[in-house]
Structures are given as C-alpha cells and as structure tokens.
Symmetry: D2
C-alpha cells in the first residue's frame, strides 16, 4: 500500500516534466507517439503490485528488450556467451564502431547495439526460430502471450543502416556466425516488443528475486546470472549516463528509446516507468526523474 | 567478532594466491616490494574494527589516493568541480589520450589519471599549499599524522612521461589552470601517500557513514557527495574491470597499483585489503579474491 | 625499341623476386593464382608499345579498377563528385572505419574501399546499368570487349563483410543514395575486371596523354581531370605506402591485390606490371621492384 | 628573365588575395604581423634568381624549417633516422595524438609536429649544440649568417602545451631520448628561424639540384636523400591538403603558419612565396594561388 501511495505522489511530482524532451524520431512509428504519457509500475518479489498513470498502455520497449535476449542467451549457452561479448562499460556513444574496430569485433557489453546484435546471433545459432523463442520466453514470464509490433520492426529495418554496418563489421571479424539479415531480423523484432509498464515490471521481477519469477515460481536464471545482469545494468544500462544513473538512482536500470526504463531493487522489487519524451542522453526525462524520486523516498538506492 | 573470524577465514582461503601475479614495476620503489604480503582491515560505522595479516604495514596507496583528492576538491569547490571533469566510465585503457582528444581535454572521470590530474589542478588553485592540505586532510581523517614517501614521489616524477603528456594535453585545451610541473608535483606526491590497511579502512569510513568520520565524528562530505564518490567507485574505480568488480564483489571499490583496494559497504563499514602482486587488470590478485569472498560471505554485495 | 630492351633487362633483374611474397588469399579465386608469373607492358602516348613476360595473360585487376570507375564518374558528373568523396591521403589502413566515423561518412579519397564504394553509388545513380556502363567504358578504351570474371565477383560478394559494413555505414550518414546490395554488386564486379598488362597499359594511356586515348584518339577526360587522377594516384594509390612509392618510383601508381600495378609517366607513357605475389603492404613485390628499376633507368621519376 | 616577368605578372594576378584570410594568432608575435605583405622568389639550379614584392623581408619560417632540420638529421645519421620516424602521409590533423597512440609513439612523417620533434631529439643526440648546428647549417646554405627570432621562440614555448604533450607522449613510448624541455627548446627555436623569400629560395635550391647547393657548390645531401625529401614534401608537406596541392600545384611544397611556402621544381629551381594571411587549411592564401599560377604558366607541374 505504501508503494501505491508513493507512486501516486511521484506521479504528481513529475507532472510538469511529462511531455518535456523529444520523442525518438528516427523511425516514423516512434515519432508519432503522444509524448504526454506516463506510467509507472512495480512488482514486489512477494507478488505485490502497484501502478499509476498509463501503466497498462503498451509501448515499444526497444533496448529494454536487451535484458530479455541476454537472459534467453544465458539460459541457452551460459558462460560461453562471454567469449563473444564483453562485460565492461563502453565509454563511447552507444553505437560507435571505433571501439569495435580496436577490439577486433568483440562488443564491449550486451547492452550496446553491437553487443545486442551479437546476442541475437547467438540466439539464431541456438534456437530453431529465435524470434519465436524470444516471444515464448517473454510470454512465459508473464504467463500470457505478447507479440511484436511488426510495423515498428519493419520501420527499424528500413532505417537500420548503422546496425547493418555494425553487424557486417562484426561478421568481418568472424564474430557473427549467421547471415546479417537473419540476425538483424531477430534484433529488429526484439526491439519492437510491445508491453505495458505493468507487464514489464512483472516480466523483470526475476531480476530482483534471485532468478525466480515470483508470479509463476519458475526459475528463469541462476542467482549468479541475475547478479551479472544487474551489474551490467548498473554499469552499462543507460547509454552514456550510467555513472549519472548510478549516482542519482543507485539501482540497476535499463532504458530504451521508446521511453521505458526498468530498474531492479535486489531482493525487493522490479520497477518499470514509461514516458516517451527523452532527454538529451536518450533516456525518458520524466521516467528518469520518477525513478530518482522513488529511490530516494523508498530508500532503496544501493549506495 | 564475526567479522574478525571472517577475515581470518578469508586470509586462509586466499593463502595460495598471495604472491601470485606481478608487482608493479614501472618505478623501482614499487618493483622491489615483497609480493608475499597480505593485509585486510575493516572499520565499521560504529567504530568497530577487525584486521588480519600485515594490516599495519604501510604501503604505497597510489591510485586509491584519488578518493582523498576528490574528497578534498569536493570540500573546497563542490559541484563546480564537474565543470572540469566528467563522471562516466571511460571504457578505454586508464591512461588513454584518445578519448581526451575526442572530448576536448575534459577527462571522463576523476579516477582515470587524466581526471585525477585535473583534480590536482583544482587543488592547486584552491589551496595555498595543495600537498600540505592533502596531508592535513588525510591526517585529520586518522587523527594522526601521515606522510608522503618522497622517494616514491621522485620516482613517479622520473617515470611520469605519460602523465606529463596527459597534463600538457589538457592544458592545451585550457582545462588546466596551473603549470604542469606544479600540478604533477601534487599528483605524484598524492600517489606516494603511505598508509596501512588499518589506517585506510579508518580513513575511508566516512564513505560508508554518509560522509561522517565515525572515528572523529567530524563531517567530511555531505551524504550526497559520498554517494557520488561511491557511485564513481562502482562504475570507474577499478580500471578496465569495473564491470567485473560490480559483478564479482558488488561494492564500490578503488584500487591502486601498489596492491591496495578499498571498498565501501554503505551504512555498514569500509574495507581495505592489500597484497602487492597484481593480476593482468592491474588490481591486486589476492586482494580482489579476498573482497569477493568477503562480499559473498558477509552478504554485502549491493546486487 | 629502347623501352623494349629496358623491359627485357628488368624482367631479368627481378627474376628472383617473382613468386616471392604471398598471393592474396581472402577469396579462393585469387588464392589459387600461380604466383610465378610476371608481365610488364607500356604504351606510349605516340601509340608505341613494348612488353615482356606474361603481358597477355589476363589477371584480376581488383583495385586498379578504381581508376576506371573514378574516370567514368568524372565523365558523368564532373566536379560534383567531390561533394561525396575527399581527395586527401587517408593515413589509415585502407579499409578503416574509424576515419569514416570521424568524418561523418565522407571517405577520404576514391582509392580507399569506402571511396570506391561511394563512386560506385554515384555510377548507380547516373547510369541505367552501371555494371554495363563500366564494361563499355573499358571496352571503349581498348576498342575491344572486356568482361568481368563472374566467379571472382561472386567470391568477393561472399567475403565482403567489411565492404558491406563500410557501405551500410556510409548509408547511415546519408552518403549512399542506393541500396547497399546494388552498390556493392557494381563494386564487386568492377574489382573482378580481368585484363592483361598490355590491355591495361593501353586502357590507361589517356592518363599520360592529357585525357586523350592515343589508341582511338578519343577524349576520355579533360586535362585537368587526368591531372587530378594522377595526383590522387601519387598520394593515395598504393594503400599505406604511397609515400614510399613516391620516393622509390616517383610516378602516379595504382595497385591492386591481384598483383597488378599501373603507373603514369605524364606526357610519355603508361605502364602496367603484374606479378601476383604481394609484399607486406599488399602491393606486388616483383611488380614494385620492376617499376622502381624502370623509373630509375628511364629517368622518368617526377622528382 | 622570363621568370622575372612571370613573377611580376603573378604578383599582379594575386593582388586581390593578398591580406585575405587570417594571420596565425596562437602566439602574439605572429598575430601582429601585417597581413598585407607578399613576396615571391626563385633560385635556379644555374644560380639565376628572380623575385618580386617583399622578397627581402624576413619572416618567421615556422614549419618550413622542418625541411632544414630533416636535412641536418639525414646528414648526421642517414637512413637510421627512419627507425624513429615514418615516411607516410598522416591523414589526420597535423598535431593529432590519436595516430601517435595507435602507432606506439612513432610519428607518421617528419613534417607533422610529432615527427619534427622526434627529428629535433635526434639532433640533440648527435650535436654538441643542436640549436647552433642548425643555425650553422642554414647559414652555410646561404653563405651568410641567419638567426632565430628569440621573442618568437619564447612565445612558442609559452604556448606550446600541445607540443609538450606530444613530446612527453613520444617519450613515454621510448621514442625520445632526451629531456623534453631540451628537445622542445630546439624545436621552438627552429620554428623561429627568420629568413626572407630570397634567402629561402637560395637555401632550398639543393632540393632542386640533386643535393648540391648551386650557390656554394657544396653537397648538402645525396641525390637519393633529396628525392626522399621532395617525395615527403609532395605527400605530406602541406598539412591536410597535400592531395589538393599535388593536384593544383603539382610540386613538392612545404608550408608554415608564418605564411611561407617553399616548392621544388626538380632539376630546375626552388621557389619561396610568402604572404602572412592563411586560408582555412593553414597555408598562405595568396601564396598558394601564386604557386598554382606559377606551376601552370611555367608548365612545371610534375603531372
């Protein structure tokens, strides 16, 4: 109950920020999203929930999906994944090829685009149908079916030159086993997953619960694996401002250009906030502020 | 009491690792340190202490000193410091000039060499005698005098070409107000501070105690400022393996090539481990393992 | 007559070098070429010719083709071409993406791969069938039909990840107007042009003759345009050793990984040497030496 | 006689350009030079001379001095010099540290600042008094004493942060044997050499005359060595526009931010033009145009 009241209070506090900033405009399907929306949901490890605003409105989760694809890859191949992908902050713009060249095609971490594409390649190699496996995995987390927004996926593909460059580049270093088109098809669909804040909070609750989905009781990952993901989220989950997030919010977070951000409060709850207008760093402006207020008020910052 | 037993247990567990790796060899004064040493100390926010091994042997704290100089700079000029120095992971080797060129002479964070040199420049501008102010600040934390190892400082200066290049380079961008020699003199002395594990744990306890030194009761920094430092330590405190430390240890840490590492357990205690032989990432091999074991056994990882 | 004797003398002098080095091995069709071959031909601006060795054996001209595609692009769109492509040495490995990133997708010059791909894009935009136009252009230079080696073209495409990365990357900066597959198809075919030394010397004679083909009397380019091409060949025509070529040979040269090299002696003649085994810089070993001897003996170095 | 008339004609033709652009402003001593000056002189290999405008006004030769220091270093240590310095175009801004980092402290060529500093280091190692040796060398070329502008040298030192960074950086790679201050002192004085166009044309005539000074009959360098220098001037002598110079002028050139440019017409003559106002590439605007007109009218372009 106290969390419900806290969310309501925060909803009021960030009111003026909602709609400030710019919605992502690199694809038409995102550019026309109404910026004046805000949702916030949490899911406790005890199954309790709270939410405010448009917490049931589905949105394009974009890069937040990297947490799901990474989780699926860890399920499928475990530690072997790290032979192909690093686990350190990148320190460069999130889609830079320079670092990739210096490091011979091995992406710094699974949350930069290059890394997520390399994860998608691993999924293609280890799944009969990677797109379907990912859908099933997320549907399983929610115990209810989810789907891709196929228009968004097509739009991503039509504007995906830089991701294509990145993929071909990794392939030139031998760090991509499957045809670029196949891998990118998975990647662009994954980015086009559409869920609501409430669904996202539920779907990510295993990250706060030692790897076990509190809703279904099923183990998603080992405790060690979710610790790895949380550590990656804290150090690399929010583009070029991971340091700022660590300070301001102090929780493992993963953001997307659709305006969604998830956060983990280890052993307590998962959070998902969404508001489409982004600040200069590519993170939801009102969403970031809401998480900051929540961490401070609830006293859950790790620092 | 339980912490004392835990330290003793860990001392045994890491026994075989002590002396493995290589001591830093870029200056003679460090190269001749006996690698077969190990100390571990902790200091609780309640003033309790525990220690094992050579916890009273003074060692060259090297880059761990960046925490003290940063703290002093925050005392002196507060948030204004960040006009000159970033707060994000660097993602490049810790002394790279490439990033500095791309970012017009503003170092990524205060824990890479460039950043610490920029902090030293701020100290020179705001202190009558920066070297003395830093000594007084650390002595005050311990309520007992400490000193520089002047041989180490001279040796650093004699082998400081890359740091000199970094400093002149920042100055060429207008991001260093004082003569390079003066700034580097402070920086090289700061690196040559010599303290024991027990002293370090005490001196850093304010980082775990919301900015208040539990030994003296004096406020060192605001709660917000220590949160900033802890966030920086977690995301940037251990050279190129901050992500790995976040996962394996899950605590804000700052390491030095002298083999020392400090760690903060917010609201509980500060830790300092020391063992001179370094692993490939430049962090103490036995020290890193000891912290990992401690975090796991004591259950203090933030994730 | 004296040139014929000079070529024969040089053929003897480089005898021991023929076959030394390594044939290009990144595609099977090139890897199986017999390295023990050598041909050398020249074509005077007066129509005189001379040749030795396997001067009538067709070989894969590879990057030497960049001279033809550049010439065709200059015919079609003139100076406008330079809005898309620079004219300065690159100073980086010939297929580096780093520089391309720093310079926002505009390649340094038309002889690095990125630049040649950008030229191919221009051809696609200004020709009904760019592959055919290029064939017709080269056939016209020789007054006899030439063709692509379609196996080589297919092999290039199958191993073209880095070129694909480069093309998508330029497209992401808006510096490629046509679909990457279409542009690369032209580029890979262009590289698979197959001509003999004698044909190449004839085909390139316009570069020595102020833009007029001495064989047909037809004007290929303006005097100013061939001067531009010769200047580019001298400063950027031989990968990372343009400076060395300028010194050792002192003539505008363009080399290819098939082992062919053309050279211009302005107002006198064009040269083509071919020997498939390459030195460490990717230029024909025996071919480079042969050009060096020719320039020295004939006294035609520009310096 | 015809050259004298040609120079006079060119002086008229470039009249409107004189004073356009900006004089170098990074040091006060250069910033206050009157931009409305222009001189042009040539010196034939037969000893003939021609000149117009302020051809006897001394100016700060700045980077043109790199030709003299390189010549002196080749006299002293010959080919061994190239173990420390490359001979290829750099492709990056002329004072970039990035390339230096990638190439482990070995500068690309002797005409970028890093390369000239490395040459100065070689001079310090092989001369009792490098500054004096350089003065004697240039005085010998003219058979009359020249001197440094000590105010300019001091001003360079006072604004030399980037050069100091470069020097310390090379030293950190072990590619500088002498103390940075000593090396930079030579370098800053060398840049502060002050000569007139007429003196420069005479002093550089050995570059056009196979290494022999036509004025004194003394051999300065071997024929091979001057060919090397001319090749370097053509490919690397004019900052980031070497390709453009090769096309527009077609002669080996070396420029300086003082507004001077020298050019070699092999086997015929040396040229020196000077006009202090610089174009965007850092080369004299009127001077560049004058050389272009001369090369075209006299028909001496190498292409």
């Amino acid at each position: 109950m106290k969390h419900q009241r806290l969310l309501e209070q925060i909803h009021q506090q960030v009111g003026e920020l909602i709609g400030q900033g710019e919605v992502a405009s690199y694809i038409p399907a995102l550019a026309r999203v109404d910026p004046d929306q805000f949702g916030f949901a949490l899911c406790g490890v005890d199954g309790s929930e709270a939410s405010v605003g448009s917490a049931d409105t589905p949105f394009s989760i974009q890069s937040v999906s990297k947490v799901f694809s990474l989780s699926l890859a860890l399920q499928l191949i475990g530690e072997q994944l790290w032979e192909r992908i690093g686990r350190e902050p990148s320190g460069d713009p999130f889609n830079s090829l320079v670092q990739l060249e210096h490091e011979h095609g091995k992406p710094r971490n699974p949350f930069i685009n290059a890394g997520a594409i390399a994860v998608a390649d691993r999924l293609v190699s280890h799944c009969v149908d990677a797109k379907r496996s990912l859908l099933e995995m997320v549907s399983g987390l929610l115990d209810s079916p989810v789907d891709y927004d196929y228009e968004v996926a097509a739009s991503e593909a039509a504007h995906g030159s830089r991701n294509a460059a990145t993929a071909h580049f990794m392939r030139s270093f031998g760090n991509l086993d499957n045809p670029v088109e196949v891998v990118l098809d998975v990647y662009f669909h994954q980015c086009a997953l559409t869920l609501s804040c409430r669904q996202m909070a539920r779907a990510c609750a295993y990250l706060a619960n030692g790897g076990v989905n509190p809703g279904t009781g099923g183990r998603v990952l080992t405790e060690r694996q979710v610790r790895r993901i949380n550590a990656l989220m804290l150090t690399c989950g929010t583009y070029d401002v991971a340091g700022e997030f660590a300070f301001m919010i102090g929780l493992p977070c993963k953001s997307g250009v659709g305006g969604g951000i998830i956060a983990t409060v280890p052993e307590q709850m998962s959070l998902c906030v969404w508001s489409p207008a982004l600040g200069p760093s590519g993170n939801s402006l009102a969403g970031t502020k809401a998480l900051e207020l929540f961490a401070a008020e609830a006293g859950v910052s790790v620092f």
